[in-house]
Amino acid sequence: MAIIETKQLTKHYILGKKKIVVGLEKVDLEVEQGEIFGILGPNGSGKTTCLKLLLGILFPTSGEARIMGKFPDDIEMKQHVGFLPENPYYYDYLTGPELLQFYASLFSLDAGTTKKRIEQLLELVELKDAKRLTLRHYSKGMLERIGLAASLINDPEILILDEPTTGLDPIGCRDTRNLLLKLKQQGKTILLSSHFLSEVERVCDRIAIFHRGYLLATGTLDGLNRQYQAENLEDLFVKTICTFDNQASVKTGETT
């Protein structure tokens, strides 16, 4: 059984009279335990919407989303999930350790574990030297790293990352990549969204390509490449999206 699954998940944003913007349209997605799954797509393709629906930040128009078989409003399930939002903003009046401490307390971790884990995580994201700095003074890369640490504070079984490498320099990107692979080895399931193709290419076991709220393709990279006769991920990406756009324009051409 898939650890993360969506069934006909649909999200429409209603703007005024009869004007509907499709955020996500009938998406069926299954993520198996222990894999790194990448959601790919251009900006505004529904990647973030999908993640938000899974986590109960948004509510679906129809269809359902489940993590570990539980609906997004399930408290018990969230105990095992870590989430890194896109462009994370945190309580900028707290220091890094205080922020981690606060989130740890929300997960009801005991004091000993908390202390140990904060040390480990700060070590891991290399923010040990910035212990006394409030987040207001952090650089964008540092914020991204403390965000990653915060999403790992509960030692989650499932990690959901929205654009985890946007603010990072090449070295930071590489470190994050290595970290993800290491987490995978520990048996974690990772769902990430990105529009950085190279990053996805190197870490993901399977990918899904989103465009305009539609799920265009899912599968392993090799499988998809073969299916679409593409040479690499970039080629695949362009091909699927172009095919979709052409079909869409043909369709609208027919109806009008």
């Binding site: 509510f59 679906p60 359902e64 609906f71 997004p72 409003d73």
Partner: protein, 229 residues
Amino acid sequence: MKRKKGYRYFLAIVFCFICIHLVQVQIDYRKKLENLESALVLMPGQMAGSLILGGFKGLAADLLWLQMETYWHSGQHYKILPLLQAISWLQPSYILVWTIGGWHMAYNIYAEVKTPEEKQFWYQQGIQFLKKGLAYPFNANKYDIYFELGWTYYHKGKDYPNAVKYLEKATKYPHPDYVDDVLAHAYEKNGQIDKAIKQWEYVRDNYVAFYDIAVRMINDLKTKGKATP
């Protein structure tokens, strides 16, 4: 996905509001009992003040105006004066403040005071208050205050030259018919018989309601040289 327990909150809110209503009734009762609300009624300035701070000058003036009405109907004419001053300060463009204020002084308080000196004093106060209103450009472009001044001079002060002066000004701006009528009377009293006849002719030709009286007045003026009793 269950997230439809909204109606429960709604019921709770309605229930709380019912309770609140009952509590408020008690509070209002106790306010009366312990004389807590009277302060508000006696000191409209307290609320008016908070409104000025909030930039709601007009609203503040309205509150004072309502207060003034209360005083007016209870015959406490003297108490109206400070309110009038305050309102005219808050909202000088509220033209009724000036006309009614002038009228209060020159007529109502005039009628209340006993000695001739006092009467003269309040008449002057009324005139001055009206003139102060004219100092604001937006009031100087309307007939209201000119007419009130002219009428006060004419009727109360028997000061016909001044009456003519202000009534003439009043007719320069859009005005109701009785302004022309009063002006005609004022011309006559001021000894300007020719102008009075002309004015009556104007009234006769323009206002149906005044037709009969205008015809009679012109006739009287031409035959007796005097028409207004």
